[in-house]
């Protein structure tokens, strides 16, 4: 079983569009959406929820106002700026900043602080016409520690293993932080989706460094390739120098945007040339693993 993660660095370059297209093309795979801040793959895969469960991996402090002696020690020791004093002099925990480190409880001389498990979100399993989809939703304002990402990946991998499905296709998150690190570690291949804009190219270099850092091999898709031909040339040269194979160039095509807005994928447009481009991406993925074995 092989795990492939789709990442980009910059948001909005087309990760989910590529994931949606590949979901139609790859015959045997389990789908996982690890962008738990903004999970969108379910929207374009006609997903029917079959199971959901609460997920709590975080801890939050709570202050018992009756015991609190206003000594201010908790606020002074909090490194996350999560404790404030309101107009009435009451000490408050800001749940959106608290990291559950337990230091406030430790320093409180009045035993007024407790640390409790907090719901971080929901983990979901759905069935789609294109295979099982594991996805999740982080409650807004919670810490994205990457634990939900890791959990979803484990579930997807377990599922694939049990049903002897050869691939797990993971739709990743933007950025290079916790959630992306958790989605990269231990996967077999990173499919990077970039575009010929200065911003996306800046982020491409950073996401590639991250993949290298975790020793994950990468292949590259240039999306919106026709938007700037000279920058496209620059990406190609850069990829060549870094020895990252470019496996597809997808043109700017308003039909792609519209298909996604209709909750479909670019494959449903029914344009043979366009479909062939996406097919080539999946063939490149399969070839990558065939050559390796």
């Amino acid at each position: 079983m092989k795990q492939i993660v789709i990442i980009s660095g910059k948001g909005g370059t087309g990760k989910t569009t590529v994931a949606a297209a590949l979901s139609r093309i790859a015959s045997e795979k389990v789908l996982v959406d690890v962008d738990v801040d903004a999970a969108n793959l379910e929207i374009v895969t006609d997903a029917k929820l079959v199971h959901s469960e609460p997920f709590s991996d975080s801890k939050l402090a709570a202050i018992d106002d009756e015991k609190c002696i206003r000594c201010d020690l908790c606020r002074q020791h909090c490194r996350f700026d999560a404790i404030s004093v309101d107009e009435d002099g009451k000490y408050r925990i800001d749940e959106h900043s608290c990291e559950g480190c337990d230091v406030c409880r430790l320093v409180c001389p009045a035993d007024a602080i407790s640390i409790n498990s907090a719901l971080s979100g929901t983990v979901k399993k759905s069935e789609t016409p294109f295979g099982t989809l594991w996805h999740g939703e982080l409650s807004a304002g919670r810490d994205n520690s990457g634990k939900m990402v890791t959990y979803l990946r484990e579930k997807g991998a377990e599922d694939a293993q049990n049903k002897q499905i050869p691939y797990v296709l993971i739709d990743g998150a933007p950025g290079v932080g916790c959630q992306v690190i958790a989605s990269l570690t231990g996967v077999d291949l990173a499919l990077i989706v970039s575009e010929p804009t200065l911003s996306a190219m800046h982020d491409l270099e950073r996401i590639f460094q991250l993949a290298q850092h975790f020793r994950v091999p990468a292949i590259l898709v240039i999306n919106k390739a026709s938007i700037n031909s000279s920058l496209k040339g620059e990406i190609s040269r850069w990829a060549n120098n870094q020895k990252i194979p470019i496996v597809a160039e997808i043109p700017v095509d308003v039909r792609i945007v519209k298909s996604m807005a209709q909750r479909q994928s670019p494959i449903e447009i029914g344009d043979e040339e366009l479909t062939a481009i996406y097919k080539n991406i999946w063939t490149a993925v399969e070839d990558f693993f065939n050559e390796k074995s």
Binding site: G11, H77, E99, D102, P174, G175, I181, S199
Partner: protein, 279 residues
């Protein structure tokens, strides 16, 4: 006035809006708080005058004093401290959140804190726009502390501030909109835009922030967003059509406010409307 430009979904046009707004409403300070992938200066072209290292306190264990009691590793909520009994005790930088708890619990006073670099903060100017940007080192996991540090340099300043926020709806986003007088959410009229907008709204509502929308690529997709905005009493302050000229210029690092006086005027108009919200 502090305006945070945010969105749930990535790639909706936050940076384009934030930079254009800053250029149009200058003199102003523009802060790029998307420290994982800061791109505002690609559109602003400020010359960076100062670059500082940003660091967090990181525990160092004096093995001459350590008696392997394991109180530090038991306390650490993140399992960031490794104890190799009789050999070595150390903290793992990628996991440690610098809460300082291990130092407090150590009965032998064996733990001290040394600064550990997590990224850079740089400053620059472009015309009447003062610019500040955070850049997280690759492999570093926590963006939030670096974002918090960005505000240490502007707290108490009276200048207007525009903040280009990271995507998502987790702690880094919260940190970037905490101080805002108005949060401007940039969205697009697709099922994705709407879905992620709802997530972002949960935050702006719990933080009790005045919130308004900018709809990008407004003529592609459906009017679901407008209906949603209407029924939730969210003012739509600007609609930007899908425009190849904007996209082509963006690819080269040129913002609408830079290439077109017409757009600059529209963004100045947007700023006036935002000002109107705080009355």
């Amino acid at each position: 006035m502090i305006v945070s430009v945010a969105s749930g979904k990535g790639g909706t046009g936050k940076t384009t809006v934030a930079v254009s707004l800053a250029i149009a409403a200058a003199p102003i300070t523009l802060i790029d708080a998307d420290v994982e992938e800061p791109n505002a200066n690609i559109l602003l072209h400020a010359e960076k005058s100062t670059i500082r290292k940003a660091s967090l306190p990181f525990p160092e264990i004096d093995m001459k004093k350590c008696d392997f009691c394991e109180k530090c590793s038991d306390f650490c909520a993140y399992n960031a401290i490794v104890v190799l009994k009789g050999l070595k005790v150390f903290a793992v930088p990628e996991i440690c959140k610098s809460c300082g708890g291990c130092k407090l619990v150590c009965p032998q006073n064996a733990i001290s804190e040394k600064p550990r670099d997590i990224g850079y903060i740089s400053f620059g100017e472009k015309g009447d726009v003062s610019f500040e940007e955070g850049l997280l080192n690759i492999g570093e996991s926590s963006a939030t502390p670096l974002i918090r540090m960005l505000f240490d340099f502007v707290d108490g300043e009276s200048k207007n501030i525009v903040i280009d926020c990271p995507p998502g709806a987790a702690h880094p986003t919260v940190e970037s909109i905490k101080r805002a007088d108005v949060v401007l959410l940039v969205t697009e009229p697709t099922p994705f835009g709407l879905h992620d907008l709802k997530e972002a709204l949960v935050i702006t509502r719990t933080l009790n922030k005045r919130t308004a929308l900018v709809i990008n690529r407004a003529d592609i997709g459906t009017d679901e967003i407008l209906k949603f905005a209407d029924s939730n009493k969210l003012p739509v302050l600007m609609e930007i059509p899908y425009d190849e000229e904007i996209a082509r210029n963006y690819s080269k690092g040129i913002s609408p406010a830079e290439f077109s006086p017409r757009w600059r005027e529209k963004f100045l108009n947007l700023w006036t409307k935002i000002e109107g919200m705080i009355g």
